[in-house]
């Protein structure tokens, strides 16, 4: 792809005078986050076009790229690519006066960052070091120093392929997430070279201990281990990064696969370095909580010059900054409304009397009624809010209509054009959309927000869509309660998305609502009750205090036991199908395939089958031991051919006897008094051979007394067997 414009002089602070063949600074902007965290909104609009303090997110990223001297940007679009392209085509960036050359690259089958970078590699547009950034990043950092460091390192060591930008941000001690709502990241960094040595963003919370490879310290006398750094997701990459993605086509996630992959791979020896920024701002909007946090940071001007009243964005109307961080467009109508601290109100918005607004962003051309209270909300464009509504920490998308008296509890997300009927309370963390919830939600984050071909859940979670405005009558409160809270109400339009199992507990983490007090108290209690007690038991290990009980070492045996129990169950199920008339041959076939898939031996099959047969005997009604014996004998007789199929050698027969012992001891103690009789019956019916019984008995000779009860019980039978065999020999 040709470079659209000639070189631009002077602007780039990062220009390296020493580079002879000057390569323009390039950037790859991913206009797709490859996750589902902004659903349901992203079903209708790509995340990079969502307004952040009334300006689409991608504007912030492009403005920053422009400010740090990037000359060519390749915008990779995937989901809603047309929308992104349309937006960019009409934006200032595409005008001939723009310094920055913006090119879109479109692909529809990319489902991850890895795929995107492979597409870009194939386009062969990247000629030198480039900046990899996602279109939802807000920053005002200066890149010159980081870029300089990166280039110098590259000169000395061509294996230094990547520099990632990090920033200090201490996660909360209770929630273990940063203020951006992202999980804490554990990083080990060489204090001298700043080389990244270890990266873990999905640390298992149940592990109290971080295990670092001992090789980490092999070459460095010291490393810094950080839990207080935030990954800004701004990376300076060398072209090799793209080819590495080509070579390892299983790399999907930039951090989880690529970064970690390079760190553990000591054959290729590629290195990743970090650059920490201190006074500048850089944050990626990963979830709703970071959306809220970054919005507030923008309003409080931490991102200067990317602030609401700075004429940075052409699309941004002339905002006026009042005291306490209140930004108002000049044509806002609000007579007696109280507008509290840190609020932005877009142009054309009308606010009714006695309404209270604080810590919120309100978009353009909204109509807000009287006595409305809005706190900590993000209200986009063309929203209508009728009188007496109460909104608390909610995201309200374009075109939403809230009828009078609606209450939005903290954490609610209302997607485009949702309508909520009168006096309805939308419970905390609800997500409401006109689009029905896709049924298959792959928990895999890589999954793209699907375009149009969504499968729809046909489930009770779908809310009655009363689109007609016919029933404007006063809502019958009791009826409403009956039909669950999850109603958007009479005259409402929209589906409430159900949360998935297990997700609900974590809903508060990523929501824009402040973490509820009860949750914090609960967490702090858990923190207290759940101390690092794992050391108590080590008191018994006198040798070394450092030996910590290894949590991973919970027996391999356990797993194995569960495994064989599962196998027993499977076999039993198969066997029961035989009872219902399936051909015995087929049963054998099925059990054989089970055996192969579970990696079991014939002996295991024999044991499992025997167990099933014995259980049959047990389930038949019986009142005395004798009856039980009769039942069992009948079953054994019936299935002896099947059993014999698996009793090909003495070993398997012994296995059956051992299984029988186990049954008597653990599974069905009713059999224990009958052990010897059933044993002799099995002998009689040629299921078990005399060799097997005798070798079982001799095997048991050395065993503990407790193990020998059944041998003792069958002593008579065994001696008889022995004598019989001697007699045979005499003959």
């Amino acid at each position: 792809m040709a470079q659209k414009k000639g070189q631009r002089g002077g602007g780039g602070a990062a220009d390296d005078a020493e580079v002879v063949a000057r390569v323009p600074l390039q950037a790859v902007l991913l206009a797709d986050s490859f996750n589902l965290k902004f659903r349901p909104i992203t079903l209708e609009r790509p995340k990079v076009l969502l307004p952040l303090v009334n300006v689409p997110m991608i504007e912030y990223t492009l403005a920053w790229l422009d400010s740090v001297g990037v000359e060519e940007v390749f915008v990779f679009c995937c989901a809603h690519s047309q929308q992104v392209k349309d937006y960019l085509n009409t934006s200032e960036w595409m005008k001939p006066s723009a310094r920055l050359s913006v090119t879109t690259i479109e692909s529809h089958d990319a489902i991850s960052v890895g795929d995107a970078l492979r597409v870009i590699y194939e386009k062969a547009v990247i000629r030198g070091d480039f900046i990899l950034i996602s279109g939802d990043t807000v920053s005002n950092m200066s890149l010159a120093q980081a870029l300089q460091e990166h280039k110098e390192r590259r000169k000395k060591d061509p294996l230094a392929v990547m520099t990632i930008i990090i920033k200090h941000s201490k996660p909360s001690n209770l929630t273990h997430q940063t203020r951006l709502g992202t999980d804490e990241v554990l990083m080990a960094v060489d204090p001298e070279t700043k080389e990244l040595l270890f990266y873990e963003d999905k640390a298992d919370p149940s592990q109290r201990v971080i295990s670092l490879d001992k090789l980490l310290l092999a070459n460095n006398p010291a490393v810094y281990l950080h839990s207080d750094k935030q990954d800004c997701y701004i990376d300076i990459c060398s072209p090799e990064v793209l080819s590495l993605f080509m070579d390892n086509f299983d790399y999907q996630h930039l951090r989880r696969h690529f970064v970690k992959g390079l760190l553990v791979d000591d054959i290729m020896g590629y290195k990743i370095f970090t650059h920490e920024i201190h006074s500048n701002y850089a944050a990626r909007i990963d979830n709703f909580r970071s959306y809220g946090t970054v919005s507030k940071d923008i309003m409080q001007r931490w991102t200067y010059p990317l602030a609401p009243n700075v004429q940075y964005f052409e699309s941004c109307p002339n905002m006026k900054l009042d005291r306490h961080g209140v930004y108002k467009a000049p044509d806002v109508q609000s007579r007696s409304a109280q507008i509290g601290a840190v609020t932005v109100i877009g142009s054309g918005t009308i606010i009714g009397d006695r309404s209270l607004i604080s810590n919120s962003v309100i978009g353009q051309r909204c109509t807000i009624g009287h006595n409305v209270s809005i706190h900590g909300c993000y209200i986009w464009d063309n929203v209508t809010i009728e009188d007496d509504c109460k909104l608390n920490h909610a995201i309200v998308c374009d075109g939403v209509h809230l009828r009078a008296g609606v209450v939005l509890e903290p954490g609610v997300v209302l997607s485009f054009k949702v309508e909520v009927g009168r006096q309805i309370t939308i419970p905390s963390y609800s997500k409401v959309s006109l689009r029905p919830q896709p049924s298959v939600q792959d928990s895999d984050e890589e999954l793209e927000y699907a375009d149009e071909n969504i499968e729809v859940i046909e489930s009770p979670s779908i809310i009655s869509m009363i689109s007609a405005r016919n029933a404007e009558q006063t809502a019958d409160l009791s009826a409403m309660e009956n039909s669950r809270l999850s109603e958007v109400g009479i005259s409402g339009v929209g589906y409430i998305w159900s949360t998935y199992e297990g997700e609900h507990d974590e809903e508060w983490r990523h929501s824009i609502a402040p973490i509820p007090e009860t949750k914090l108290i609960e967490l702090s209690h858990r923190d207290h009750e759940d101390p690092d007690v794992s050391y108590h038991d080590f008191n018994s290990t006198p040798v070394s205090g450092e030996l910590q009980p290894d949590s991973e070492s919970t027996g391999f045996d356990d797993g194995d036991a569960g495994d064989s129990a599962d196998f027993d169950k499977e076999v039993e199920a198969t066997f029961h199908r035989a009872l219902t008339g399936v051909n015995q041959e087929n049963v054998i076939l099925e059990i054989n395939s089970l055996r192969l898939s579970c990696n079991k031996s014939h002996a295991d099959c024999a044991g499992a089958l025997f167990l099933s047969v014995m259980k049959l005997g047990l389930v038949a009604p019986h009142s005395s031991n004798n009856e039980l014996y009769q039942n069992t004998a009948k079953e054994i007789n019936k299935w002896k051919d099947l059993l014999k199929h698996y009793l090909k050698s003495v070993d398997e027969e012994i296995e059956v006897i051992l299984k029988f012992e186990e049954i008597c001891l653990e599974i069905a103690t009713e059999f224990s008094p009958l052990f010897s009789v059933i044993l002799s019956y099995l002998y009689e019916k040629d299921v078990l051979s005399e060799d097997a019984i005798l070798s079982w008995a001799s095997e048991k000779e050395g065993a503990d007394e407790s193990d020998k009860i059944f041998v003792k019980q069958s002593e008579q039978f065994i001696t008889w067997l022995k004598e019989a065999s001697e007699e045979d020999e005499d003959d």
Binding site: I210, L225, T293, S544
Partner: protein
């Protein structure tokens, strides 16, 4: 009462097996000579210089205790007030402390290993301990670079010598708190850092180039509690210290005088201290405070904590432990060499110490960084380099001694060559014996003309 209100326990060890054949019934570890003075004297003089004069010296083994006690009462009769206690052999450092714990009354206890040769003032460790109100403060020093400083024995040829790995230490960014410690076999395993501690402090510096020097200041109550409750604990280094470090966020030790002793802070425990450390760096927008609203009344931090601190010795300080034969040679070399201020002797213009009563034959040279004690005689054409020779040795002619330690009353006949070896007292080396990197036990006789390399010579 002493001014510092510190009691001092010196753990002098016994007949350490790792130092065989140098130690024996007659010479316990504490009395091994370093530049012709028992190693224990270095600790005792260090303490004396720090005005810590009331000591308990714990020795393993009755006989060893008698020997050590006898020597101390002879050498320090008017200078120190020393009580020598004996404990059975093999009780470990924790066992040794257990034996004397009930006699301790001061608020804090300073525990020093008797094999430490250092010039780090114990007062500095004590002061750090007091300043933080710590449960334990450990002295950390740069790990020694092992091996002789010039060619001759092993390790000399390596271009870049790496410090020995003694410990893996985790420190907070201010390097005041001890957050992680791996000792012994743990050092070579993967590093296992506790998340709760890392979270509290945010950033941990993990270093492999520091050594636990075995000088600790303990809060007495903490020490006594642990010794009482954890009767399986065997060693300070491997059990008590790691235990305290691990549990610092969730203390199990009694807190009488632990938290409340600091009048200025009602509940300022180490955890909050650690948090404060990282808090001052947070330039958080006020929305952060809103999100984690300060109005939220969290229950007071019920969890007890204690502090584990570190005093990191300056690079320029000397610090070594005599716990191996290699260390014995190294320390002897250093004390008459680069750390000569420790020896307490004054060096001649040739940078060596030759006692006035020593006799040298003609054409015999004694190089710099050598020591020749009283009454020793050297024959003609001998050469001594970087070695320590004890009292009343008889050394013949044409003997070469380099990088070695020769103790007292040793007889070395003509034509011997000794390199990198340790010759204990009363040894006889007959003519033309060649020893390289050997240890010769006391009373041993090496026969004429025999050559040994890297051997330990002792009577069976």
């Amino acid at each position: 009462m002493a001014r510092m209100d510190f009691e001092v326990v010196v753990l002098a060890g016994g007949a350490s097996r790792s130092l065989s054949p140098l130690v024996s019934q007659e010479v316990p570890k504490a009395l091994l000579p370093v530049a012709n003075r028992p190693v224990l004297s270095y600790v005792l003089e260090l303490l004396e210089a720090g005005n810590l004069k009331d000591l308990i010296v714990v020795v393993e083994g009755e006989d060893a205790a008698l020997l050590v006690g006898g020597w101390i009462s002879g050498a320090y009769v008017d200078r120190l007030h020393v009580e020598v206690a004996s404990v059975p052999e093999g009780v470990g450092t924790a066992g040794a402390l257990r034996a004397v714990a009930s006699y301790l009354t001061a608020n804090d206890v300073l525990i020093i290993s008797g094999d430490l040769v250092t010039d780090v003032p114990p007062g500095a460790v004590a002061a750090t301990h007091r300043k933080h109100g710590a449960a334990v403060t450990a002295l950390l020093c740069p790990a020694p670079v092992s091996g002789p400083s010039d060619s001759g024995t092993s390790g000399g040829k390596e271009k870049a010598k790496k410090p020995v790995r003694c410990n893996i230490v985790g420190l907070d960014p201010t390097r005041q708190y001890l957050l992680h410690m791996a000792t012994g076999a743990e050092v070579d395993k993967d590093i296992r850092v506790q998340k709760s501690i890392l979270r509290a402090v945010g950033q941990m510096e993990i270093r492999a180039d520091l050594m636990d020097a075995h000088m600790y200041a303990f809060k007495r109550t903490v020490l006594q509690d642990i010794l009482e409750q954890k009767d399986k604990f065997h060693s300070i280094r491997q059990d008590i210290l790691p235990y305290l470090i691990r549990t610092q966020m969730n203390s199990e030790v009694s807190d009488n005088g632990l938290v409340n002793s600091e009048s200025r802070s009602d509940r300022l425990s180490s955890q909050s201290d650690l948090r404060w450390l990282s808090h001052h760096r947070e330039i958080a927008p006020s929305s952060f405070q809103e999100t984690y609203s300060s109005s939220v009344k969290l229950p007071p931090d019920a969890r007890k904590t204690h502090k584990c601190c570190a005093y990191i010795a300056n690079e320029s300080k000397y610090c070594a432990r005599l716990n191996s034969i290699q260390a014995f040679s190294d320390i002897n070399r250093d004390v008459i060499g680069e750390a000569s201020h420790l020896s307490g002797y004054s060096f001649s213009a040739q940078n060596n110490i030759i006692h006035s009563s020593a006799e040298l034959g003609s054409k015999t040279t004694v190089g710099p960084q050598c020591m020749l004690a009283e009454g020793s005689k050297l024959g003609d054409k001998c050469s001594v380099k970087r070695s320590v020779i004890g009292r009343h040795c008889r050394i013949g002619s044409n003997v070469k001694i380099a990088n070695s330690v020769v103790m007292n009353h040793v007889t070395i006949e003509d034509g011997c060559s000794i390199q990198g070896s340790v010759i204990c007292s009363n040894v006889q080396l007959q003519e033309r014996v060649v020893l390289k990197d050997c240890q010769v036990a006391a009373q041993y006789v090496v026969t004429t003309g025999s050559e040994h390399k890297s051997e330990s010579l002792a009577r069976k």
